[in-house]
């Protein structure tokens, strides 16, 4: 078990080094990267099957003791990260399989592997320092990409986001360390030890982790780096770093269980902030002409729903939020892959220059349509269940926000179908007419799209196993449920 947990994050990082430093043939680089990604995905699936039903903070799979200073090596699999692990591995694998070979040279391949390893490491970490380290590492390739992109504003905004993340996490870790030393905790940065110590850590740490989580989610007004990166940074590695549930994961892993007083204070403002983000993202997405920007703002809108539901602090809303955070990665990730495939073939994602592509790429069009339907919570998909739970939870105390979320979902549906129509239907634009060689999804691209759609459909039609995995986590998080939350009768 320890070996599996270790290999999950270490193997991609080592493979990235090998691909970057030792291999020079692009075919070998691609082959090694894809082989490693398959292995990691399989290992994550095994961990899900073995550990997925365990309660949060109830497992202690790997405990190697202090490695460096107070950096405590503590990683585990529980209900919160069990599904996120194979999902992250699957998205990385999908990116590697779908990327054009000309794009998939050493640099890009290594970046994707680094982001994958760092994300998996962050998801596995039960140690604040380790979590922070992996968190920052998962942003490094994106930051490097923007530095090389030649777009100064993009680099500036990414540097700001990157710098703010590092500063906040550093201060939080130092504060936790000082707090641990003052109270004589043997492992001052171990999240599990802190939760069991009975001494409340400083609230400032909670606020700092909350800030970092919101920043990573792209909550308004901290979304600018995300939309800029998603629409302008080199696609495949950026997609993995940007479209990740790490932000909401941090709230559920660190802020909610360790800082209940912060949650209680911030609950209502965060619900409102989530609603504002959802509306803002939906409003911006509906007016975009660029497919990647549409998806970036759509993601922001979805994260608004996730935040509002998490902040409502009751069992259905938290369960819905965690499920929505997970399904959004598959849905928006799948849509982004198709957008990148369009870009690779047409040289643009400006929808005014596209149109009528369904004739040349019916599979791509079908994939986009089905993923769009799943993304807006069409019945029979995971998002439908997630949104249903989230709205039911919000209804208990925030009826207006629940109503707003329904409107946002409707607007998002219009946005994605409009994007589908402009890209794939109607008469082709003068630009698109010249794309005689525009190809449909090929081999692995097609299989990736089918796998994503299949996952969303199967998970939506039979959601019970997915919900069961999270039961322990949600039960654990219920400890911080607001005391004055009124209960409602069941239908």
């Amino acid at each position: 078990m320890s070996g599996l947990v270790l290999s999950l994050w270490l193997v991609p990082l080592l493979a990235a080094g090998v691909v970057q430093g030792l291999l020079h043939d692009p075919r070998q680089q691609r082959g090694v990267a894809i082989g490693v990604a398959w292995l990691v995905f399989a290992a994550a699936l095994v961990l899900l099957v073995i550990n997925g039903s365990d309660d949060a903070f109830a497992r202690d799979d790997i405990e190697l003791g202090p490695v460096f200073l107070s950096l405590h090596y503590h990683m585990a699999v529980d209900g919160l990260n069990a599904v996120l692990l194979p999902m992250t591995a699957a998205v990385a694998l999908a990116a590697l399989l779908s990327a054009p070979r000309s794009d998939l040279r050493g640099d890009t391949t290594a970046r994707i592997l680094v982001v994958e390893g760092a994300l998996l490491g962050a998801l596995l970490s039960f140690d604040a320092a380790l979590l922070s380290l992996f968190w920052v590492a998962s942003m490094v390739p994106l930051w490097q990409d923007t530095r090389r992109s030649g777009s100064r504003p993009l680099h500036v905004i990414l540097t700001l986001a990157f710098g703010a993340t590092i500063a906040a996490l550093l201060v939080a870790v130092v504060l936790l360390g000082v707090h641990g030393a003052e109270n004589g905790l043997p492992a001052p940065l171990d999240l599990l030890a802190i939760s069991r110590a009975g001494v409340a850590p400083p609230a400032a740490v909670g606020w700092l982790f909350l800030f970092v989580g919101l920043l990573r989610m792209g909550i308004v007004p901290m979304h600018l780096w995300l939309t800029a990166a998603a629409s302008r940074a080199p696609g495949y590695s950026a997609m993995l770093a940007v479209l990740t549930p790490l932000g909401s994961f941090a709230l559920a892993r660190v802020v909610m269980p360790l800082f209940p007083q912060v949650c209680e204070q911030a609950s209502s403002p965060l619900v409102i902030l989530g609603a504002v983000t959802a509306v803002y993202g939906a409003l911006l997405a509906v007016g975009q002409h660029d497919l990647r920007r549409v998806l970036a703002y759509f993601w922001v809108s979805q994260m608004g729903l996730v935040l509002a539901s998490l902040a409502a602090l009751n069992a259905p809303s938290v369960a819905g939020a965690l499920m929505q955070a997970m399904s959004s990665v598959v849905e928006v990730g799948g849509l982004m892959l198709i957008a990148l495939e369009v870009e690779a073939r047409a040289g643009t994602t400006d929808m005014r220059l596209l149109g009528g592509l369904v004739h040349r790429a019916p599979r791509m069009a079908t994939g986009f349509l089905l993923l769009s339907a799943a993304a807006v919570g069409f019945p029979g998909t995971i998002s439908f269940v997630a949104e249903d739970l989230a709205i039911q939870g919000l209804l208990r105390q925030h009826e207006v926000v629940a109503g707003v979320m329904l409107i946002v979902t409707a607007v998002n549906g219009i946005t994605l179908f409009k994007a589908f129509k402009q890209t794939f239907l109607g008469p082709p634009s003068p630009h698109a007419e010249r794309l005689r060689s525009f190809e449909d999804l090929r081999g692995w691209e097609h299989l990736v799209a089918v796998a994503m759609m299949g996952t969303l459909l199967v998970g939506g039609i039979v959601p019970a196993p997915l919900l069961a995995i999270r039961t322990g986590v949600v039960e654990a998080l219920k400890r911080i449920e607001l005391p004055d939350a009124p209960t409602t009768h069941e239908p």
Binding site: L406, A410, L435, E439
Partner: protein, 475 residues
Amino acid sequence: MPLDVWLARFVALTPVWPALGAVLIALMLVPKGRPAERAVARIAWFALWLGFMGALGGVALRVIGGPSDLRLGNWYEAFEYSFPLVLLLDGLSASVSLLIAVLLLTTCKFSVNYLHREPGYVRFFLLMLLFGAGMQLLVLAGSIELMFIGWELVGMTSILLVAFFHERAGPVQAAIRVLVTYRICDIGLLLGGVWLHHWLHTTVWVDAFAAAAVHAAPLPALAVALSLVFAAMGKSAQFPVGGWLPRAMEGPTASSAVFYGSLSVHAGVYLLLRAAPLIEHSPAARAALIVIGAVTAVMASLSHKVSADAKSAAAYATATQVGLMFVTCGLGFYTLATVHLIAHATLRYYQFLRTPSALQDALARRAALGRTEQDEAAALWERVGLRRRRAVFRLAIERFAVETALDRWLTRPIMGLSRWLDRLENRFLALHDRPVPLARPATLSPPHGSPQSALQASSHSSLEAKADPQRGVEP
């Protein structure tokens, strides 16, 4: 096992058969190559027959007095919340379910020949089966949540069939119009469910009806009723959101007949009939129904008179009759509205199927009778003063400028705000002065490699190519 329990289980499968047929056809599309028309037609025919038998079973169950509230368990349960799978089989749902099954069977038979060798043949049958599943679920649903699933399926398939001829701009633009109306008005159904849950703590129809009689409260009742009326307005093309109906005629004749002539357009009326015991608690909502229905009936009737093409005229005529059904629902004549619904759906279905021959029919009628209904209407019209005639004609020909007003006061401000915020962000990021870079198309690996020269040429030319202004028009 008692007969009624066995029958109830069979009836519960009524929406499942068309859905299974659709899944089978979808699976046939996964490997490359077009499936045989005959195989597709047989699957559709068989699935619809099973659906028909289920609907017939529903009527039989009503006749023998079996259970009307079929509780099938929960779809999912989590954290003090459950999604109930419950069907409601009463006189209304059983009769409308049978009507749906019959019309879908007829449509299937008609379309096998009508769409023969049409490129979208398989797509049509796939969507029709999904529509059938959605419609049966909508009608048989015993809770708002389950009804919403059917409602969404019906909406999505409607939109895709409006855009059936997707190579033309018109149908695609019309599909967007339908989508916008549906999505906005679907909020009504969701809000209705939310309010109902908040008011009576249930969304199961039978429980809600019983609880509403005990816990009468004017304000929640008004909120629920108005939400449901709003949802019904969208689906049934009522004022002021009915502009999508004539545009929806861009689809194949068979789909126009079954969707916009008979079934889909009556889904709103069905919702009103289903939720009648709740709407009755709110006189204001009933008054709103009467006003909306009457206004729609008058406007659609006048628009019908000035329509130049047969399908548009039929669409306006449909909206007129549905408007009258709204009025009857508002007045509380539910049996009359139910009879009106079934009779009108059947008649209009036939009329829509005949629209390709409308001119021939009109000429034959004129030849046989010497005059037509239009002539009689024209004679009456002549009695009105010229200035009034001109004013009414102008209003009717411009469809009372309802869509223009909605565009001007709703769509444009929203899109304007969206673009303004976007510009603001871009200025903040100082990205506004950079042209959108067109990435070089990637080299695709052999044997599928693309001719670089052609692609690069297209990319370079696209830098200078200006977007077609027509394509940039927002819905």
